[in-house]
Symmetry: D2
Subunit: 363 residues, 4 copies
């Protein structure tokens, strides 16, 4: 028997991240986009007009705006009803998320790119295939907050690729320490204001506000252990980051140094990364053929060449080498590229929705 389609809304649909949701939902076999919402300023317009409103192009995806979505009326996110919805994707700033997301979560599940609720005790930060068992917190959350729905955020886009690659290493060898320097793309900052050309051309910006704290905290939570309905005990791994911005459009590059708890050769680590296949034979529409690809060419991964691997959903790893400075029983260092607006944001949340549905969490 065919399953009913899930009726979705996107909050913050006119922003850079929101647009990526529309692309990720275009032609989706199971999810039907029925509502789009944005700020009051855009409300009342058709979506196609709203994104053209400022008088110059504002559609930021390489793919064209799906024609069916251009005609959708934009609703005011602050007053939109949850009626007729099975699921809400939220792509709004953290301040707005704090107000809007609970209002919808009273009635329907909310999957969010915002950080507003990531650090609450009854809220898991889910990456499908990495910490699916944390989804058990959802029931506790619903019960405790007396909601029919729930809020599940994805991680910060910089956390995503690192957590995905650390997971098989943690499972096989145990993690002791992680040191990471990121070279992040400009699209991660959105566009309003985003990164000014005057700031980034011929330049590097060595600081992204709050980013390092997020990555350090989220990584430990995602790799942590679910403690009954009590929440998550952060993984016992020390994480230290420096996050920088570089003149790249899309695709975060991360240079990772890892100390492991047990002995592992570079070949052992390569095998663990390559064999990471958390979904087994199961195929989700937005899942890539391989969660992790490991390249042997020392000049890879490069963000421009590798960000679109697996439709932007594969984390591409290269330069895998032995690391002995950090300590631990053994260690590896590597470079990864992860698409910050695909797996690291909207499309990653759609994959999460597919996984949650399969796991029975979407009703």
């Amino acid at each position: 028997m065919a399953r009913a389609r899930i009726r979705c809304a996107v909050l913050g649909a006119t922003g850079v991240a929101g647009q990526q949701f529309l692309v990720a939902l275009d032609g989706h076999p199971d999810f039907e986009l029925v509502k789009v919402a944005a700020s009051e300023r855009s409300a009342g317009k058709r979506y196609g007009d709203a994104i053209r409103d400022a008088g110059h192009e504002k559609w930021y995806c390489r793919e064209p705006l799906p024609a069916a979505f251009a005609a959708l009326p934009v609703e005011d996110a602050s007053t939109m009803s949850a009626d007729g919805l099975d699921l809400v994707f939220a792509a709004v700033e953290s301040d707005a998320a704090r107000v809007l997301e609970p209002r919808f979560a009273e009635k329907v599940p909310v999957l969010s790119t915002a950080s507003a609720f990531r650090y609450e005790h009854d809220v898991p930060i889910l990456i499908p295939g990495v910490n699916g068992d944390h989804a058990k917190l959802i029931d506790a959350q619903k019960k405790r907050r007396n909601w029919r729905g729930f809020i599940v955020p994805g991680p910060n886009c910089t956390t995503t690729g690192m957590a995905i690659t650390l997971k098989p290493l943690a499972d096989a060898f145990g993690l002791e320490k992680v040191v990471m320097t990121s070279l992040q793309a400009t699209s991660g900052a959105g566009r309003s204001p985003g990164v000014a050309a005057l700031d980034i051309l011929d330049n590097v910006i060595p600081y992204i506000s709050k980013e390092e704290e997020k990555v350090e905290r989220e990584t430990r939570k995602i790799l942590g252990r679910l403690d009954g309905s009590e929440g998550i005990v952060p993984a016992d791994v020390s994480v230290s980051c420096t996050c920088t911005r570089v003149p790249v459009l899309d695709g975060h590059t991360e240079c990772v140094f890892v100390a492991l708890k047990s002995r592992a050769s570079v070949d052992d680590a390569r095998r663990a990364l390559r064999e990471f296949a958390p979904f087994g034979d199961q195929r989700f529409p937005s899942a890539p053929a391989r969660m992790i690809e490991v390249l042997d060419d020392p000049y890879r991964p490069q963000p421009r060449l590798d960000r679109d691997a697996g439709g932007g959903m594969t984390t591409v790893v290269g330069r895998l080498r032995e690391e002995s400075t950090l300590g631990g029983a053994s260690g590896v260092k590597y470079v990864l590229v992860s698409h910050n607006t695909r797996m690291g944001a909207a499309k990653g949340m759609v994959l999460l929705a597919e996984w949650l549905r399969d796991a029975g969490h979407l009703g």
Copy 2:
């Protein structure tokens, strides 16, 4: 009594690094550029014609070509005589350096940007103000090789800024471990072939051949201990690097994580860095007012804004924070910007020459 001026030659004068030597020597109070040499292809032309030979602009410095130098005849480096020279600056590829530099060193001191001799036991890698005591090896080198001159190379341009900032930390607190990721400018690759626009626009290249090994090895040697005339015992510090290339013209950015042997607060480390004044009251023409500048603005240093500090000779540090992941009694992490073709190459070698002269090594 006025000291006699030192008569210099530049080998490899037509390349990107060689040009920087000409700029650094223009109007120098003590050094007089009397000869320029390049490959056979350029020999016989006037310098100004040789760099214009390919029919399109080939002078890469922001400063104009010093008029007096444009008229110098370019000699063939492989046959040029050392007669009439007191000093040779060499800016040639490593293979050429291996042949050319000893030939000149038989008669006169050779200061080199090439890596050819950096790892020989009787050859110090000198950074003035950092490891001046290693200059004592020069006498042993002359004696052992039976040369009237000697070869002293500077470090790889990526080593320079890191070694300068590690020195005051090592002296004050002791170094245990260093993890570093570099974001290097395209000018570091020279121009023939250099980095192709097609490779680096909207991109990061995560590998620079042999760079990481050089940085790890040179850092330990520079911070090492002179063992009589026997050579240098590398410092007992573990160093691990990932070196990347980013779309920046000039100025290497380095994200450094350091574990220290004794307890030090971030303020202690800041003070040690700020107070690093190895030349005391002595003023060398090419030395910056401050060897290290520490900025408190979290968005600094940036290569475009900070590479020219102190005429490109100051290492600019920012984002100084506590680091506890690496281990050690305490730790700090920071970001530095160092001008790769100024302090990190030609002008750094001119400063070295000024220091060596003062120390009596230039005869």
Copy 3:
């Protein structure tokens, strides 16, 4: 009855343009790539190894190297036999083309991206849909040169987009004068040596050797009139260009000012451009749905957003406005974007081959 497949070779297959031929021929319904050739240096290797030979990535297309082609042995272009071939695509430098192309043309048709033969009297510069009638020169060429095959070059990549957009204007209103400034992508220069990052980052290069002469001459030839078997009488239109290079990876932007012989409003011109459908109902595998797309958004076309329209085969026009300075009965000015390595090079030649086959010129 199914038509036999055409057996093709690509000369210069390892270069940037050659690689684009492989992508354009991958999975082609009518053309089968059976041989690849390059310089002696690559000969004897498998194609996949040859492009990886320098030790760092050398496959420049966004699409992956077609697996079937990776296994093809690379032959030496200077000695490769034409046996078993129906067609040769040549993507070699002009000097090599002058020697290689006639050798193959003795036996099989040669379609070339090189300029070597573009200006010979019995050689048409063909753009399918624009000047197909010039193909009649092919018979004269074969006869005169006593060849079984022939040489037909495509235009310079900068000529392509301009000639395509001028064609419907010429047909409807007559051309009097054309002034054009191009902002060309770096991929147009190939990669060896190509454009150095040091030259183009934060910069514009206002000159491309021989480019302006080519565009001016080729435009008049392509829009000219076939004079029996005597050759082509250049169109009586004056063309003046300035060609520049900008920090863009792919996609040439051209700012065109046109004086017309008869009166035409901007709406008339827009209609002529939009309705340009030279192939009627006929569908060629590599032809775009629309040869020309006209956008009304004043901020378009942009090379990054529009270069891939129609699979890189559509010329995208915008900013269509009245132009009265040049003179003429009326005039228009506009901006176009044309993909320089797709329609402007390899894939444009494959479309030409499809068209020539349909017209009976491939035997």
Copy 4:
């Protein structure tokens, strides 16, 4: 006898253009900056704090912020008094200029980078050395508006370089037609919002709102003839432009095609451009040694290499060639680079102030 120093204020001092005024006035022999004003948001702070207020670096000039100016209190431009001022430099948006500038002009001269008053009949658009005779309109303006001061704007930054190079050609040979395509730097858009990195990396934006109309109109007005106190009769020259934005930080590149009224060879035109020395032996502090520099290297001018010529005050011309398409008795085409925030904005206005003072217009 030493002349008294002119006491100046800068309106809009915290913006990108305003900052350039501070750099241009630092250490000025005749002008003393005594007041800085900005919006209410910054008022009450010290200047150095106001530009650091947003928590990340906001000083955009390569030169450091002059220390003396960092301590100046920022006044609210809407309430600041003109008392104690001899001159006001205005660097505010056009809407603000329309309100603020007349209020100050009642009492003191106002030199403005805004377009608000450029097209009024009694307001000249002055470029010192190009149309100084238009300054005679100042008296008529003061009389008609009953002001003790006056408003004189400079041209749009894209007009500046073109008008300067057209002036000697107009004087020597007469202008008939001008066609121009600009490749403009991102700094021309200021920074709030300015050009987003997401819009311009690997891209060209083919439209700048209102820019083309400004350039066409201003060029004719600047090159026009003063008709007594009645205003300026625009020059009888037809001007047509396409203005684009490219990924360049500073320095507008303009490709100019000119039809002349009388016969002139390329050498004649080169001579006219090179000999353009409107100030004779007079030396103004901000004037460059040469108003126009003509380069013979076909690969020049380039914005990164040539924007700083003459301290950013020289217009650098290259690629001077014959132009015959446009018509006219003869013609030339060329490429120019003009620094859009130096000669094309703040420093150009300071030079204007120096010239006006010398001409007796500053009282």
